[in-house]
């Protein structure tokens, strides 16, 4: 993630939570947090417990968040602030991303139209964006975006990429109708089996290697601690080794939504149902 992305995430969060932004350029943001933002990102539960119990007027913190090396010669409006360098992995960034995530988890959108159309019903699709996590001593992950037609059950990959340029509204246009053929339940079933196929057909060489490493380490620990008669340490160390090596695979849904298109949604690489 680039620093400019991170800065944009912070800025949109401050706007969303009603913080007072005093300064913003490409290197830093100076902000006085709103009470809600302070509670969420400043990590001072004791202070807030005190304010709440004593019915005090809260005094939220002011920060200078840096997204580039700190410049000391910059004339900034606030002088009494806490300085913090923000890069990927930062706690506050994680909290903010989590907050943004809850704001963008579920949607239902209707394609906007500039001119009146002579059709009367939308072409409806269910979109699911998800991440596959592969984890052993290290990890990697893939983001996938699929769409399933609620009319035909057809499944399309790279769905978000294909609709990113389009415009949507959260309200239905007048005189239009939604006529999904497929129930949500059956659409979900189709998506589940799609993900399941994806998992079973993936290359598992990494997991085989991880298991071998884990077994080797366990054997070494066993012979070392049995000889020394230290069963407690053996248990402790064995657990640690499993935490490092045991291969795990997980599916995490990023967000999902229902999209209604004006025209029949035409996509590249279409995959027919059941193929």
């Amino acid at each position: 993630m680039k620093q400019e992305h991170i800065k944009a995430i912070f800025e949109s969060y401050f706007v969303m939570t009603g913080c007072e932004i005093f300064h913003s350029d490409c290197t830093c943001i100076q902000v006085k947090l709103s009470p809600i933002a302070d509670r969420t990102i400043a990590n001072r539960p004791y202070y807030w417990a005190f304010v709440d119990n004593m019915h005090q007027e809260p005094e939220p913190l002011s920060y200078t968040f840096w997204f580039a090396p700190q410049q000391t010669d910059l004339a900034l409006p606030l002088t009494q602030t806490i300085s913090e360098l923000i890069t990927i992995g930062n706690d506050k960034l994680n909290v903010i991303m989590q907050e943004l995530h809850t704001q963008g988890s579920y949607t239902m959108l209707f394609e906007k139209s500039a001119t009146p159309r002579n059709i009367d019903s939308y072409d409806s699709w269910l979109n699911v964006n998800y991440m596959l996590h592969f984890q052993t001593y290290s990890n990697r992950n893939d983001v996938h975006s699929i769409g399933i037609s609620l009319t035909t059950g057809e499944i399309v990959e790279d769905f978000m990429e294909q609709i990113a340029h389009m415009e949507f509204s959260s309200t239905i246009a007048t005189a239009m109708m939604i006529k999904p053929v497929l129930s949500m339940e059956s659409a979900q079933q189709l998506i589940k089996s799609h993900i399941h196929n994806q998992l079973t057909s993936a290359d598992h060489a990494w997991a085989i290697r991880a298991s071998e490493l884990e077994i080797n380490e366990h054997n070494r620990l066993k012979s070392y601690y049995m000889e020394r008669n230290e069963p407690e340490l053996l248990t402790k160390r064995t657990t640690e080794i499993s935490k490092i090596y045991a291969p795990t695979l997980s599916v995490e849904i990023i967000n999902c939504g229902i999209f209604h298109f004006l025209n029949h949604f035409r996509h590249k690489n279409s995959k027919a149902l059941g193929s």
């Binding site: 943004l100 290290s138 990697r140 949500m184």
Partner: protein
Amino acid sequence: MIISTTCNLAPLHNLQQHYENNGPWASWDAYKHVFEISKNQQIASFDTLASLNTFLNIQPMAHQMQTAEIVLKEMHGRAILGDEVGLGKTIEAGLILKEYIIRGLVSKALILVPASLVLQWVKELNEKFGITAIAQKKSYVWSYHNIVVGSIETAKKEPHRTFILEQDYDILIIDEAHKLKNPRTLNYQFVNQIQKKYCLLLTATPVQNDLNELIHLVNLIKPGHLQHIGQKSNVSTIKQKLQSVMIRNRRVENQDNPIKRVINNIPLQLSTEELQLYDGVCSYIREYAHLNPQNGLALITLQREVCSSRDAVFVTLVNLFQKTPENAPQRATIWTLVEKIKAITSNTKAEKTLEVIREIQDKVIIFTEYRATQQYLLHYLKQHNIQAIPYQGGMGRGKKDWMTDLFRGSAQVLVATEAGGEGINLQFCNHIINFDLPWNPMRIEQRIGRIHRYGQTKDVNVFNLITNGTIEAHIVSLLMSKIELFKDVIGELDPILTATEKSIERLALDLIQNHAYQRNRYETRTH
């Protein structure tokens, strides 16, 4: 093979709920934003650094990036970072920590460092890596904060110990890990009890006196890895096995134009009065050592102290005198030794030191093992109009920083005791005088490492003051043999003492033959 698979499809059901309740729905922008953030967080590979393309407030050097990658890819997060002093082990540890944080594999981290380095670590992690590390002050901090830097001395004591042992750490990082060489110590046992996933041990000197130390260190990260290995028999096997748990970068491999280290051994002849005292101490030891064998080391300390300064030996003699029963025969001998001290009016080493300082006309650090010598030198240099300031382990952090600033500013000389050796960075100075020598080569390496490190631009000059015909010559030869052991297993060590002084070695041999002590007694001294 079992792959544990979890598949949380609850959001699909939540979507259905929202659908039935007709909302609430995210806007197109918010929805797109969340997807974009996730795309940006993708990690493509198990083994290449994800932190490579992210912003760090430093430019890591090639060997540091390479080290981080090897730890991730081949050592799987359990490693000894054994770079020579001054190559940036802190940076390497920071890179590795950052890498695991970005990957989401580490959220809870414990970093144990010498007390004097706690704030420096916190500062570097925050400023260079954007890692929100907290310096431990209260005991609840251990459990309350995710990334905590604390001192091992505090950590091992109650109530801290209990707090720490209750935690389940994703990573444990220990700086100056050579202090964990003995499994019988509280430090070692405590560290061994901590529950951790990944573990980094940082030390420039993984072997100090013998190979067992290395085995114990390795046992903390990979128990049993070096277990069935004889002492000296198969050095190449050890070397090979070590490579899978330890990385050691060396200066010459990493810099285009390496800073040279110039070693000057200055042999000195003690004055007649000093020699009389030294001989007096030696004959006292020969005569009375058998009375109190456990005290052998204390007596050798006496010899070493005479070689340092009369002030150092005076304190020890007076203590010895007071501890000796009034009717004991040695009491009179001790008193004659004290009388001999009074006859000494000058210090050969101090005079030579003054001469060297005047020749250098630049900043100099003097290291001594003894507080009394330190005090004497400060006084002596002041008398000769040279501004000198003290530096020792007992000083608080604030005072240490202040002394460092004074030294950077107006003071020409810093007189440090052994405890001052670790953790301070004094690259602006390039001269060191070893007024007396410790028994452990790695401690000299730590001393020299204060100035011979990243950021030094000039050649580093080291002056070793060695008094002929005394125990110091023996120390030199002992240091040599320890350096050999280190070289066999770990690799080359920059010259600490030049090996050309054959005469000193011969002298040392004579000394061993003349002494009533067994060789191993010298070696059992621990720090």
